[in-house]
Subunit: 154 residues, 2 copies
DNA sequence: CGATGCAATGATATGTTGTAACTTGCGGCT
DNA sequence: AGCCGCAAGTTACAACATATCATTGCATCG
């Protein structure tokens, strides 16, 4: 039971949505940014900045430095095109960049897959708890490390 | 309104509780472990392994290597004497090592202070969500980055 | 057109966090 | 004493992240 309508994107559509979103924020959509976004979206699990630098280096046939990737990833996170998975020091593309959500990641310790959940009741509860403690500008980080259904069978 | 009775420790009492807990798990309470624990408990905010290595080096008047500290911190986390704050790459002493809890940290981006909350309703909700998604052996990581009441006044 | 300014990116270096592999030291046991 | 096992030390390195300054490309203005 979805709690709201998501505009879910994939492939070209996702890239287009990302480009639109970024340009609407007054930022440029450059070749480098597109390459980083494509690389990030191409991973099926959270990717580190160095993973992405490696992937972009391949696709561009030249050496891309990690710090450029970090800059762009920070931009993406700020623009909601990507999320950082704190407990994995890694990043994932956001498949619906136009919805602003606190999100919950479930990360499998065995295969590294991450699944993404939205549950505004839970995240709202965490926000409320932070507010009660006097915290402002709260940014919840809610992740669960564990074993996914596929890996658990083994 | 506390949801249960905590045995809250500080100072010598905390060290004793930690020692008892560790020895009851069949582990040794060595001088090095005590020094690491004291250093960790002496910080008023989450401390990195390198912070602790530095502090122990001072108190021992000799150079202590970070990897030894890591080993001991891992042991402490496993024994519930300490917690890792994922979003800060840092550790805090657990003031009530005999209660097993999922806990919630609120970390101030400005001063680095962390406050610790227990809320079994919230953490239970997150565990349930993970279970519904087929995850097992769940270990929730729930943290909130933000600005604490003290820092917000400025 | 050339000068200027600015944003993006590159290059290089360094800092921080975390592990791995192997060795040494020390206490208990036979 | 000789052996065993765990703690801790040593060394090396891998992985993650940031700082600084140089360069490039592009738009604007005189």
């Amino acid at each position: 039971m979805p709690q709201h309508d998501h505009q879910l994107h994939e492939g070209d559509s996702l890239r287009d949505a990302a480009r639109d979103r970024l340009t609407r924020q007054g930022e440029q959509w450059t070749g480098m940014r597109e390459a980083v976004f494509e690389a990030l979206a191409g991973f099926d699990k959270p990717a580190s900045a160095y993973d992405i630098a490696e992937a972009v280096s391949q696709s561009q046939e030249r050496r891309v430095a990690a710090n450029s990737v970090y800059r762009i990833l920070d931009l993406f996170v700020g623009a909601n095109l990507a999320r950082r998975v704190e407990s994995a020091n890694a990043y994932v593309a956001n498949a619906h960049p136009d919805c602003l959500h606190d999100c919950i990641f479930l990360i499998c310790d065995s295969c590294g897959q991450a699944v993404h959940i939205d549950d505004d009741r839970l995240t709202g509860g965490v926000r409320d708890a932070a507010k009660d403690a006097g915290f402002t500008k709260a940014r919840p980080v809610i992740e669960v490390r564990g074993t996914c259904g596929d890996c658990d069978e083994s």
